[in-house]
Symmetry: C2
Subunit: 240 residues, 2 copies
Amino acid sequence: MADKKSDDPKVNIFWKVPMFEFLEAEELDRLYSLCSTEKLAKGEYVFLECDAPRKLYVVERGEVKLLKQTEDGREMIVEMAYPGEIFGEEAIFDGEPYPMTAQALSDVELLSITRTDFFSFLRDNPDLALEIITELGARLREAQNTIRALAMERVEYRIARTLLILSRKVGVVEVDGVINIDLVLTRQDIADMAATTVETTIRVLSNFKKLGLVETEKGKIIIRNKLELENMVSEGCTTL
Amino acid sequence: MADKKSDDPKVNIFWKVPMFEFLEAEELDRLYSLCSTEKLAKGEYVFLECDAPRKLYVVERGEVKLLKQTEDGREMIVEMAYPGEIFGEEAIFDGEPYPMTAQALSDVELLSITRTDFFSFLRDNPDLALEIITELGARLREAQNTIRALAMERVEYRIARTLLILSRKVGVVEVDGVINIDLVLTRQDIADMAATTVETTIRVLSNFKKLGLVETEKGKIIIRNKLELENMVSEGCTTL
DNA sequence: CAGAAGACCTGATCGAGGTCATACCGCGAA
DNA sequence: TTCGCGGTATGACCTCGATCAGGTCTTCTG
């Protein structure tokens, strides 16, 4: 694959996007030329729910949380986006307003591409379209798993599931098999992901700690016993 | 559009599939030639959760419910598919096992196409791929709305939302503005869609009846005051 | 027609988890 | 060094909706 490497080092972020993996260097270059770079500080908003669809984003550095809110201020994190992941695609693909708010969880660098540019690129790269269909199928599947979890599983299960999703996405496996979630998350963030409250999250997490399933250290969470957590969730046939 | 009409009357079902709307007659014919027809009686299963992905389905007649189950037998209807709608696409598009079970809610006729046939057709019709991306974006959006509803809204809201989704999908508007949900659904079905129990559904529905929002007649539900129901749900910016 | 099975309905009870109040700790700013 | 603030922690209480335990009404079948 080294032969595909672009001259421009900034294009390299695209390598981490599974969706773009198979594109040739010249295609990546062209795609990159259509993009602009955006830097946001922690807490800033990329877009708000109901905004008109403008751009598709790729996370280059940092983390972005995608959330929905109620009038009374409660929020729920629908998804998290990490380097190499895209977000804002629902709005770009179907042309309706963004279905949720995107907020920088840390200082972030983003690549963005407009709807029209992306679609014209897509027309020239039909294989990319198939790739996107696969990706969207996978996201739909995960969303449906979330629906099932919310509808039928108890909080501990949902929190266990949240931890496992985090470990899969940003987990660093240490020598002794434990998984380090390399990200400073508050209990509130985890609560918002698992659709519960801080208090409950704290209680469940300290319970998990007592059972030796997890550990916390300086705000970071360490998963000690992934297998046991997985037993709790057992998402139908999928491995999660 | 009449010029596109195929000689084969059976192809006509494809007209009702938004995704296929813009295909030319010869393309529709070719697509139809790749399909086989399946008839199932009420209650039969099209596929089960965890089955290997075989086919993509289009509903020709009848209704299909897509559900997820727990070990203890409770089920949750993730989606309903009506004539002109496709289902089973997550598995076909990403190649993983079906994420849920599909069961005929009435006697049904289905058109089915294998994964390989569909993908080869897709390669020859790149515009269809864009269409599918749009559709998947919309589904993802709806799934996320469901997630929000489950995470943050009370049962009445979820039931109201369920009624509105049904009215949008299978509702027949009568002269006096009331909407007839032209489908025999049990309270259990509605409960499974709103992720609650029969008892609660019954209580909420009789409450809605008292408030003059809905009416029931021979198992069918009539929506008397759509506006008031919509006020309850107010799904962010979307019209639902 | 009797009887059974399934859908619909209602009241009583219970429990998971949300809410509220309070307290502690670490840290940066004044 | 003290103040304030944000995150963490824990106990007391309460509410929503699930669960259980009865009904009735309708439809289907022998």
